[in-house]
Symmetry: C2
Subunit: 309 residues, 2 copies
C-alpha cells in the first residue's frame, strides 16, 4: 500500500470553494452518484453547473455507464433541465468504440463487432459505420440450444474482429455462450467497457459490468482491455478531442477506485470526491488505501453553488 502524504482538502466554506474553482478551467464530472442517483437529481446540481458555466468553465461528463449512447445521455440531462451537447459527453461505450476504431484499427464497413451489452455500445459503433452483432438482438433472449441457435447455424461470422463486453441486464446463457465462441478465437480482440464490480441502484448494490465480463474472462481464460475509467485510454481520447491542458482540469466523482484514480493517474491538476455516491468521509481520508486519495472532497456537488451565493 502506498503511503499518501497529501491530506485531502475539505471544501466547506466560501474561501475554500473560491480557491478551488479558480484553479481550474475544465471540470470533468462523473454522473451517477455526483449529479443524480438513478432518476433522482441531487440538490443544487443545476445551479452549480449553470454557475460554473457563467464563470467561463468548460464542463465535460464522463461516465462508465455503457447502456446508453451519448445521444440518450443528452436526453437524460435535458429531462433534468440541464442543457448539454453530445460533444460534452463521454461514455465507456463510446470510449470502447473509439478504441476499436482508432487503436485496434478495425475498418468500418468491413470488420464487425460482437457486443455483449446493451444498445449504447451498438449506437456508438453504428455512428462510426461499424456493423455489430449480438447486443439486444431479441433472438438472444431465447433459451440457448446448440442445435437451434441462429448464431451457430451457419458458423460464427468470420468478419467479427472484436468482442466488446459491457453491462447487460439481459445477460443469459445464450449471450454468454455465443460471446465465448468468439473469444475462443485468440485473433478476435476482447474489449471491456469498464470493470466496475458493482452498480449501485436505488439504494442496493447490483452486479456491475465487470461481473459478467469476469465470467467471460474466466471461461475464455483471457483478460480484456478495459476502456472506461480508470483506464487512461478514455482520458487520452478526451484530452485529444478537447485539446485540454491537464493541469487546469479537475475530475469530480463519487468513486475512489474509478473516478479519483482516473484523475490522479491521468495527471489532472485536481480531483474532487463528493460523498453523495458510494464513498464516505472516512474513506476519503483513509491515507492507507491502495488507490490515490482525492485532492479535494466535499459532501455534495451543490456546495460549490451554496458557498458562493
Amino acid at each position: 500500500m502506498t503511503k499518501i502524504t497529501n491530506i485531502p482538502i475539505k471544501i466547506q466554506d466560501p474561501s475554500t470553494t473560491k480557491t478551488f474553482i479558480d484553479k481550474f478551467d475544465t471540470f470533468l464530472f462523473d454522473c451517477d452518484g455526483v449529479l443524480w442517483l438513478g432518476s433522482h437529481l441531487l440538490p443544487l446540481v443545476v445551479e452549480t453547473l449553470e454557475y460554473l458555466k457563467s464563470v467561463g468553465k468548460q464542463l465535460l461528463f464522463v461516465t462508465n455507464n455503457s447502456t446508453k449512447s451519448r445521444t440518450q445521455y443528452v436526453k437524460k440531462f435535458a429531462g433534468f433541465g440541464i442543457h448539454v451537447t453530445e460533444d460534452q459527453v463521454f461514455t465507456s461505450g463510446y470510449a470502447s468504440a473509439l478504441y476499436v476504431r482508432d487503436f485496434l484499427k478495425l475498418i468500418p464497413g468491413q470488420d464487425k463487432v460482437w457486443i455483449f451489452g446493451e444498445s449504447g455500445i451498438k449506437e456508438e459503433l453504428k455512428l462510426m459505420g461499424f456493423e455489430s452483432l449480438g447486443a439486444d438482438d431479441s433472438r438472444l433472449d431465447e433459451p440457448f440450444d446448440i442445435a437451434t441457435s441462429p448464431f451457430l447455424e451457419n458458423g460464427l461470422d468470420p468478419q467479427v474482429k472484436a468482442v466488446i463486453a459491457g453491462l447487460d441486464t439481459k445477460v443469459n446463457y445464450h449471450r454468454l455462450a455465443i460471446s465465448l465462441q468468439y473469444l475462443l478465437n485468440p485473433e478476435i480482440q476482447f474489449v471491456a467497457t469498464n470493470i466496475d464490480s458493482t452498480f449501485p441502484q436505488k439504494g442496493i448494490i447490483l452486479p456491475g459490468a465487470g461481473s459478467a465480463i469476469n465470467s467471460l474472462a474466466y471461461a475464455s481464460d483471457r483478460t480484456p482491455e478495459a476502456c472506461g475509467k480508470p483506464n487512461l485510454n478514455m482520458l487520452n481520447a478526451i484530452v485529444k478531442a478537447k485539446g485540454l491542458d491537464r493541469s487546469k482540469c479537475c475530475m469530480v466523482g463519487d468513486r475512489l477506485n474509478t473516478d479519483i484514480k482516473f484523475g490522479e493517474t491521468g495527471g489532472l491538476g485536481g480531483t474532487l470526491l463528493v460523498l453523495t455516491g458510494i464513498e464516505t468521509e472516512e474513506r476519503a481520508l483513509d491515507v492507507t488505501l491502495e488507490h490515490p486519495a482525492p485532492k479535494y472532497y466535499t459532501s455534495k456537488l451543490g456546495n460549490l453553488y451554496e458557498y458562493t451565493h
Copy 2:
C-alpha cells in the same frame, strides 16, 4: 511448475491391463467424457463395467455436474442399460449439500440455503431436510426490477445461512442480483459446487459452473469454497461414506486438472486418464504441466474389456 518424474503407463495390451486391474479394488469414474459424451454412450462401456463388477470390483461414480440429482443420475445410467444404485453416485451438488450440513453445520428445518443453480442441488438439500430458495423458481425467470422482485419485497430471508452456486443455464440478471444480495452479508457462507471454467457439449465449449460463480465472486469480492473435484472435501466424504482404503482406489477421468488432480492429491493408489474427453496423449505425457500426471492412461475406457476378452 513441478517436474514430474513418473512417466504415465499406457494401457495398450492384455498384460498391462491385467496388472492395472489387479492393483485396485475400487474404481471411481468421472462420467461425461469417460462413460458417455452427453447422450452418446462410449464403446464397450457397459461391458467394461459389467466385467469389473464380475471380478469383484466396487464401482463409484463421481461427477462435477450439479444440474442433476443422484436419483436423476441413476435414471440416466439406466437409460444406457447400466444398473447402478444411488449410493454409488456422488455429484458436486450432493457434495455441496453434505458440506453445508456436515462442515458448516447448518440445521435442517431451521437454516435455509439460497441456490444459484439447477434442480440437482435443490433435490439433494431437500432429501437432507433443508428448505432452499432460488434455483429454478420460475419467478426468477422474470426480468429483474428492484421495485417488483418478490425476492426483495419483504427483505431478504433471514433464515438463509448459505449460498450454493453451480452451473445454471438459466442464468440471468435477476438470479445474479438476488444471489449477490445474500453474498453481501459476510455471515452468509458462499459455497460453489465446482469451478470448472468450461462445459464441453456436443463438440463445442460452453461456459462452465466456474464462469457464473466467478461473476458472483467478483461482484461480492468473495471467494467461494468449492466442493467438487479436485477439492478434497468431496473425496473425504466418499472415503468416509464407503470406508475406502485409498491405496486400493483408482480414479478414472478425462480431465487432468479435475479428475487426475483429485485422485493424485487425494492420495489414491492410482489414476487413469482416458482420451475420450478433453485431453490428448500429448498432454497426458506432458511432464511439465502444473498439475499431476496420471499414473496410467489409455485411449478409451472400453480397452479394459477389449484387452481381457
